[in-house]
């Protein structure tokens, strides 16, 4: 097992967000030096990992210099710049002004974003240093990062295995010490599943908690932006910065954002924790089950009331997801028409030929498959049987959770049915790939927050994650339980 030896591993003072920002504020180091260390780590490791699609060296060093100038004059205020000098990566589905933004797709090769996503603006306002754009499955469609239009990402914990997806580059960058934190996006598990595969923390807040402005849309009613980090505390600190109402996103909720670190540090004694039997059935790999059950025992030992709950419609979540998500995707991806931006096929003689050939050349096989499935599900004669039916089952899934949350404060499950699989293992069978998301898709459909926290390793040394799901807008309890199992 190749263990990376990065600059930001435990045991060095610059492992955590707290460690970095306080060292910079105390002038024990500089944001510039931290950024350079991480660029060196990228130069050393990313040839084999493939976590980055583009680096933003100039922008990073300019931001680091700003932070260092403030620190030099004693003007660095960590309450207004809580991520001062923290080196971060941003999934390539997020717009970054002037930098390449491709969503991992050849159809956007060479596209330079004309504006920044709100989360990017907020990260930089908080002092974070953006190192570059993280590789991902094309348009965030995939569970292994093998659908990237550019290159696959390899799992830093075992280079023969996938890092998960679609935020595979974001997870691998943190796991390999190439960034202290990254942003990913989660539509069906795309933050939590790669976090689990790579042995890092991945947090998805409530739908509407984090702005989607500047996120290249996959399925708008399911898309979330969130952090991947080394620790639950780091996740709380990044979420604190990116959460909150944004007038540029009409689905962004006007709900006050609590102090996540303070919430996280409260004791878990007395919390009611639900264990849904539907998440521990057939298909759950035995070592994964044992590690997740050990995490649950830890919560019990800390004074949580662990009790069974039932989410009876669980087996219908993946089919519901693959109708709702693909229907929305087929509509969202209609904008790639080769007129205003993106790849255009050469020599087309008519407008419609230009549309069809440009899209055929620009989109990869999984994206075409999902556009086809979504278009079919929305087409005349099939709308009621597929799209409308799936929307109704989505209501049943939401009711499952409403009933469960009347009894418990949070729900604990495995994040994935098995640890990271080998590259190429599932590429010929789209359905097998979709089932890697079996425990994560429901939270996206229902809009509740969830986190994946590492809970141990298999005998082969592969990380396993435990997933904690909470009530709408109750990220605090999710983070609190996450810190307790960490």
């Amino acid at each position: 097992m190749s263990q990376p030896n990065p600059t930001s591993q435990p045991g060095t003072s610059l492992f955590s967000i707290d460690g970095i920002r306080t060292a910079i504020a105390a002038r024990e180091t500089t944001a510039t030096a931290i950024a350079e260390q991480h660029f060196s780590q990228i130069a050393k490791s990313d040839g084999e990992v493939g976590a980055f699609l583009a680096l933003s060296r100039e922008r990073a060093l300019a931001q680091a210099a700003r932070v260092d100038a403030l620190a030099a004059h004693g003007d660095l205020d960590l309450t207004t710049m809580p991520l001062a000098g923290v080196p971060v990566g941003v999934k390539d589905v997020l717009m970054t002004k002037g930098l390449p933004t491709t969503a991992g797709s050849r159809i956007l090769e060479g596209f330079a974003a004309p504006y920044d996503a709100t989360v990017v603006t907020r990260l930089e306002a908080a002092g974070a240093v953006i190192l570059g754009k993280c590789n991902c499955d094309e348009f965030a469609m995939g569970s292994s990062n093998e659908n990237s239009g550019y290159k696959p990402v390899r799992n830093p914990r075992d280079l023969t295995r996938v890092p998960g997806g679609s935020s595979g580059g974001s997870a691998a960058a943190v796991a390999a010490g190439m960034a202290v934190a990254t942003l990913g996006s989660d539509t069906g598990g795309s933050i939590r599943q790669p976090a689990s595969f790579c042995g890092v923390v991945g947090m998805m807040a409530t739908y509407g908690r984090v702005s989607r402005y500047g996120l290249i849309a996959f399925a708008s009613s399911l898309d979330h932006v969130g952090p991947l980090t080394n620790s639950v505390k780091d996740a709380a600190q990044v979420l604190q910065v990116i959460a909150g109402r944004d007038a540029m996103d009409a689905t962004s909720a006007d709900v006050p954002v609590p102090d996540y670190v303070a919430d996280m540090q409260k004791p878990v004694r007395g919390l009611r924790v639900g264990i849904p039997k539907e998440y521990f059935g057939e298909g759950l790999e035995p070592e994964t089950r044992a590690l997740v059950e050990a995490a649950i025992e830890k919560l019990r030992a800390l004074g949580c009331q662990v009790q069974p709950v039932s989410l009876p419609h669980t087996e219908y979540a993946v089919p519901t997801y693959y109708i709702v998500a693909t229907a929305e995707a087929s509509s969202n991806l209609a904008r790639f028409d080769a007129v205003r931006y993106g790849h255009r096929a050469k020599g087309a003689k008519s407008l419609s030929e230009m549309y069809r050939r440009s899209r055929d050349e620009g989109f990869g096989p999984e994206v075409k498959r999902r556009i086809m499935l979504g278009t079919y599900a929305l087409s005349a004669g099939y709308y009621d049987a597929y799209y409308l039916k799936a929307q109704k089952v989505r209501t049943l899934l939401a009711r499952d959770f409403e009933l469960a949350f009347a009894e418990v404060d949070a729900i604990v499950t495995p994040t994935c049915p098995a640890p990271a699989f080998k590259l190429g293992e599932k590429t010929d069978d789209p359905l097998a790939m979709y089932l890697a998301d079996i425990y994560t898709v429901t939270a996206d459909l229902v809009g509740i927050p969830g986190i994946s926290v590492p809970c141990g390793e298999t005998s082969e040394g592969l990380p396993v994650g435990v997933q904690i799901l909470g009530k709408h807008f109750d990220e605090g309890t999710v983070l609190r339980l996450g810190a307790a199992v960490e």
Binding site: Y207, T320, M354, T395, G447
Partner: protein, 112 residues
């Protein structure tokens, strides 16, 4: 429900995708495998169940209000110029595959 080569061609047309014949036969196989799995949704009785198109329909909504006022939390003041300056002409054209500096250029749309 079974999907055949003809249906794949029809849907590809709706989606403005041009599939090669290899892609078409693979698509028939893949879509049938996925649809066979999705068809289990028909086992569920959903009579009288409201469809859920968006998450915010289940929280944050002021149930005492009617119509669009229920979603007031997501609305903004309707200012004449909107929220922000638009992209400049230059920025909006910067990523165009083909433009003449003022407009996006495309192949001829209307034949004489």
């Amino acid at each position: 429900m079974k999907i055949d080569e003809k249906a794949v061609q029809y849907v590809a047309g709706l989606a403005n995708l041009e599939l090669t014949s290899d892609e078409q036969s693979r698509m028939v196989r893949d879509l049938n495998s996925i649809l066979a799995y999705v068809d289990r949704l028909s086992e569920l009785n959903t009579d009288g169940v409201e469809p859920m198109a968006q998450v915010s329909a289940r929280y944050g909504v002021d149930e005492t209000c009617e119509g669009s006022e229920r979603f007031d939390y997501a609305s903004r003041t309707d200012e004449p110029r909107g929220l922000r300056e638009s992209l400049s002409h230059e920025a909006a054209l910067a990523n165009a595959p083909q433009s003449d500096g003022s407009y996006f250029l495309v192949p001829k749309v209307i034949e004489k």
